[in-house]
């Protein structure tokens, strides 16, 4: 497929850029094979591959609890959820591949520690209540972002997001149900749910990324219809939905400054600890090393499966040629 990526030094760049932006303005999807600015492609690869890696690494904190789920029902739900995350990683790697980057190169970047993924997955899952809280808050935050990206201008990314959102809603609901049940449960269960909320609330707010004023890519991403809402807007939507629900459940939120603002209709939050965010992004979070180690180990331990599949395929091919 001939793919055309334009750069500003092209003689027809400005003309083509105007056509491209007009298409986005009309709500058309840009598809593989269509002309696009090289910078549009670069931004998409950056975002989609980080997103794919997040799905893959995101299996680790939850996967650690599959063997310790309290009931068969909860275990089946968790297994299905972790399988979904694996599938979501595949949808997203596929979307990135349509921009001419290989899946292998993306995976190598992840294993080499060069690729970024969502900082939230570098926090540990200390109790079973963390599993419910991740579903409710972490997936809740992810869905807000993903719903916004489902409207994005690049066809393959948009389609992956629509598919992911449809499945992710179950992750959010099962988590919310679990935490609400614990909130109504024994004092010990309530305390466990509260402790999990206390630890995950702030990292969940950080998931939407830096404040708009500190987010240099937002302008171009918005102009080209990749993002349709800013980080702070998505974060506000998340808080407005989840803060009242957490309080309804009789739980508290670890932000003494959190309050409902009648005038704007928003729940306003206190200052976010961005030093912590940048520390975790920079590789110094509580679990960065363990996560990467676990990915590398899984890749190395799966080598014999890949070899067996290749040997089988080669044998089939030989038989077919002989026939």
């Amino acid at each position: 497929m001939p793919v055309k990526y334009g750069v500003p030094s092209d003689p027809d760049y400005n003309e083509r850029l105007a056509e491209f932006e007009a298409r986005i303005h009309r709500g058309e999807k840009i598809e593989p094979g269509d002309w696009m600015p090289e910078e549009y492609r670069r931004q998409l690869i950056r975002m989609i591959s980080q997103h794919a890696h997040s799905e893959v690494v995101g299996m680790l904190p939850e996967g650690a609890w599959i063997t310790r789920a309290p009931t068969l029902k909860r275990k089946m739900i968790l297994v299905a959820k972790v399988q979904d995350e694996a599938g979501h990683g595949q949808y997203l790697y596929h979307a990135a591949e349509t921009l001419g980057v290989s899946r292998e190169a993306m995976l190598e970047a992840l294993l080499a520690g060069k690729a970024k993924y969502s900082s939230i997955f570098n926090y540990p899952t200390l109790t079973w209540a963390d599993i419910g809280t991740i579903g409710w808050l972490v997936d809740g935050a992810a869905i807000k972002n993903q719903t916004m990206l489902a409207a994005c201008s690049y066809g393959p990314y948009s389609r992956a997001m629509v598919r992911i959102c449809a499945e992710e809603t179950f992750h959010h609901k099962q988590g919310k149900e679990m935490v609400l049940l614990y909130a109504k449960g024994t004092p010990k269960q309530r305390q466990m749910a509260q402790d999990a909320i206390n630890r995950w609330w702030w990292p969940a707010l950080m998931m939407m990324g830096p404040h708009d004023k500190d987010s240099p890519n937002t302008e171009i991403l918005t102009r080209w219809g990749i993002k349709t809402k800013s980080n702070d807007t998505v974060r506000q939507e998340f808080i407005n939905e989840h803060a009242p629900e957490i309080l309804e459940a009789g739980l508290t939120i670890p932000d003494p400054e959190l309050r409902y603002d009648e005038k704007s209709g928003n729940w306003l939050h206190g200052p976010i600890n961005w030093d912590e965010f940048w520390q975790v992004v920079g590789g110094n979070g509580p679990m960065n090393k363990e996560r990467l180690e676990a990915r590398r180990r899984a890749h190395a331990e799966g080598a014999w499966v890949r070899e067996a599949l290749e040997a089988y395929a080669a044998k089939q091919h030989k038989t077919a040629v002989a026939v």
């Binding site: 919310k176 309080l247 309804e248």
Partner: protein
């Protein structure tokens, strides 16, 4: 290091009355591996009766923009005509699928197949076309036993649907104006929540 397996485009059919639709791709060492992987990646939820896979390199793809820009006139190839499966996208609406299967045409080259598809399937404007030699498509086994064993189990897993989870709580307005740090339990349940 180039250890990457070939890429296969995946088509999923949700019900017998619907067309196969492009849903994404997988990497796999051989056709059966591709079908199995496709099933595990794209049919974890209900709504599937059949899957097709085809090597990405066997897909001839053009968008509306490309059709306006480049000449896709068929060249004489000397090849014998064969059946090509035609897939088409007709809407910019939000969707989780790309092109839909519309039917077959006989042609000696993908370019000729495109031309024939454009002349044959005229009921809607095409935003993108995929043409694939029909013989290159690998299909899941259509026997009822296989359909049952591949796709039916997902139907019983109702816990993968959000409707499975009823949630309760007091009304949101109760907390507006209050401070977030209060720890006051509410015994009320809201029927509408």
């Amino acid at each position: 290091m180039d250890t990457e397996w070939p890429r296969w485009e995946v088509f999923k059919q949700d019900t017998p009355n619907k067309p196969h639709q492009a849903v994404g791709s997988v990497h796999a060492a051989d056709p059966q591996h591709a079908l199995l992987t496709a099933r595990n990646v794209f049919a974890r939820r209900p709504q599937a009766v059949s899957m097709w896979v085809v090597r990405a390199e066997d897909v001839f793809s053009v968008t509306k923009e490309e059709l306006l820009e480049a000449n896709h006139e068929p060249q004489a190839t000397g090849h014998k005509p064969q059946a090509f499966a035609a897939f088409r996208k007709t809407s910019h609406k939000r969707s989780m699928t790309f092109v839909d299967y519309v039917g077959e045409v006989e042609a000696a080259s993908p370019e000729e197949a495109l031309q024939k598809a454009q002349a044959t399937f005229t009921d809607a404007e095409a935003l993108a076309w995929w043409l694939v030699p029909a013989a290159k498509i690998v299909k899941s086994d259509p026997s009822p036993e296989t359909i049952e064993s591949w796709f039916a189990p997902a139907k019983d897993k109702t816990y993968k649907q959000q409707q499975y989870y009823a949630t309760v709580g007091s009304h949101v307005s109760k907390h507006k104006g209050g401070r977030g740090v209060e720890d006051e339990r509410s015994g009320e349940e809201c029927a509408s929540c």
